[in-house]
């Protein structure tokens, strides 16, 4: 028994979603009367990893070798070796393209049941039942995990980060990985985002066709900057190449679940709502009072985005 948590970092900082995963793993370990540890790859500074003690991790297994970066097949081999060697039966990961792939491969390696998009701690009075977000946020499933070993991927921003005090000890871990696990050859990485990663953002400002053209994105970016928010867009906007595809949120784009989602000039087609319906608070600004998005919103302004948004930006700057 024991809970292992998979850590991802960006530019030397542990991702917010990984802090959520460590908090979840530590709480779960407490409920199971066991311990939790984290596993991290690459060059995240030791001080940053020690701080995972604040979220309840007793120790961090660190694999320093840089060649694992992005190679999920090799990462999965390393994680399953760590689980076997140190006796961990449950693996917790934050949902991401890396976390999904590592979790999937570990599940096949160790015959563990797999539950994705989990939003809460398991119910354990009778078995081990997790609540998962399904149908792109339109419903939940209660799924019983019957295998002894388990892999759980968490939906982002569903579980809050605990802030205790503790210092995790760091232990170097050296897995034994075969060359065939390094079949993928990463040639180049192109960074395209602004300052805030969209899937990790606490606030998202998103624009639709009502923005009338890519040349008008300045007012949206100013608002995002004032809020420390990530920028996003609707599918028609990315289809028309006003904005890059990686900003498209919706059914077939990125699914976001920030604390605050502000939609500017987006009518709110059901496919768009599917990508944002897990947001905690939704603000809609649209001049069309009949826009369906208002039905899914917490707060709304019926008005012209080109008049309202600059005023809103100024009002926010005053309180920040």
């Amino acid at each position: 028994m024991g809970v292992l948590i998979f850590i991802e970092s960006v530019e030397g900082s542990v991702k917010k979603s990984s802090l959520e995963a460590v908090s979840y793993g530590a709480e779960l370990a407490k409920k199971l009367n066991t311990t939790s540890a984290a596993i991290a790859f690459g060059n995240t500074p030791a001080g940053e990893l020690e701080k995972l003690g604040n979220q309840g991790a007793g120790k961090v297994l660190l694999i320093e070798d840089g060649k694992f970066s992005g190679i999920t097949q090799a990462m999965a081999s390393a994680v399953s070796q760590a689980m076997e060697k140190e006796g961990y039966d449950i693996l917790i990961l934050a949902k991401s393209s890396i976390g999904d792939a590592v979790g999937a491969r570990v599940s096949a390696k160790i015959n563990a049941g797999l539950a994705s998009n989990v939003v809460a701690l398991p119910e354990m009075s009778n078995g081990f039942t997790v609540k998962r977000s399904i149908y792109t946020g339109k419903a939940f499933a209660l799924t019983e995990m019957t295998s002894a070993k388990k892999v759980i991927t968490l939906k982002k921003n569903a579980f809050s980060i605990t802030e205790g005090t503790g210092v995790a000890t760091i232990e170097k871990f050296q897995p034994n990985i075969s060359e065939t696990d390094f079949a993928i050859n990463v040639k180049n990485i192109e960074k395209t985002s602004g300052d805030v990663l969209l899937p990790e953002a606490e606030i998202v400002v998103s624009g639709g066709r009502g923005m009338k053209g890519p040349e008008n994105w300045g007012i949206l970016e100013d608002l995002a900057k004032a809020l420390g928010a990530a920028t996003a867009c609707s599918k028609p906007v990315s289809d028309m190449d006003w904005r890059p595809h990686h900003e498209h949120v919706g059914q077939t784009g990125i699914k976001v679940s920030p604390n605050l989602y502000i939609a500017l000039g987006i009518s709110g087609a059901i496919q768009h709502l599917a990508g944002v319906n897990s947001s905690k608070v939704i603000v809609v600004i649209n001049k069309d009072a009949d826009a369906p998005f208002f039905k899914a919103a917490d707060y709304g302004i019926i008005g012209d985005v080109f008049e309202v948004v600059p005023k809103l930006t100024e009002a926010i700057k005053k309180i920040k």
Binding site: A108, L114, H245
Partner: protein, 245 residues
């Protein structure tokens, strides 16, 4: 190239989601089923690859008899033959196991599928199949080309794109803009009726999870409207009432 495309049979993206039998079963009444949108991209790219450099495209679905119209549609779009593993797709591991068991003796060069299904959104079947077949798996792939037997791919990562190379055979979970969706032609629809659709029985394996029931999210309260001349009020509400600023 011998290509396998795994497709899901899922409710149309505009479907209203509800459950029956005391919230234990999906309510399919009035629901239109489609090829999963991401799987549709995978299928379209597979057909393009076949058209440009030859080979075959097989489509596979793990599902019961009601999924056959979805497989026929994939044949109409241009797949050569179809396989249905005759069992309810109960979880990612189980589905991946059935795919791997079928594929392991067929020597596919390339296995494509969508980045995730739009019903359970797991996004993990490609990785599990990859592990079971001991092949690399890459997802979400937005560009897929070949230079001999080496694939050149672009993968979407958080905040950017990753360009990579990998030798066949491998598995890719696909998303736009890898290809444009294809609409079946009349000729395609006619020929799909006579293309082979093989039904095989599942291979026994232990179930590792079981969905017991479903829940709907709590209903949203009514939208609070703020006067466009008074944006300070919106800021106040977000700050003091919603506490998100």
């Amino acid at each position: 190239m011998k290509i396998l495309v795994c497709i899901t049979h899922v409710p149309d993206t505009t479907s209203k989601i509800s459950f029956t039998d005391n919230n234990s079963k999906f309510n399919s009444a009035g629901v239109q089923y489609i090829i999963g949108p991401y799987d549709d991209y995978a299928l379209a790219r597979a057909i393009e690859l076949k058209e440009s450099s030859g080979g075959t495209v097989t489509v596979l679905n793990v599902g019961e008899a009601e999924t056959e119209p979805t497989l026929r549609k994939a044949l109409a779009i241009g797949a050569d033959d179809a396989v249905r593993v005759n069992v309810f797709p109960s979880d990612s591991y189980y589905v991946a196991y059935q795919i791997a068991q079928y594929a392991k003796n067929e020597n596919y060069d390339l296995i494509l599928m969508g980045r995730e299904s739009i019903d359970f959104n797991g996004g993990q079947v490609h990785g599990i199949v990859g592990e079971m077949l001991n092949m690399p798996s890459i997802s979400p792939v937005m560009k897929l080309d070949f230079n001999g037997d080496t694939g050149t791919l672009a993968r979407e990562i958080e905040g950017g794109k990753e360009f990579l190379e990998v030798k066949l055979p491998f598995i890719a979970g696909c998303q736009e803009p890898i290809a444009e969706w294809k609409i079946p032609s009349m000729r395609g629809i006619m020929s799909a009726r006579t293309k082979p659709l093989k039904v095989i029985e599942p291979v026994q394996v232990e179930q590792l999870s079981k969905t017991i029931s479903y829940e709907m999210p709590p209903a949203k309260g009514a939208c609070k409207f703020v006067d466009p001349e008074n944006v300070e009020e919106l800021v106040r509400l977000l700050n003091q009432e919603a506490k998100v600023l």
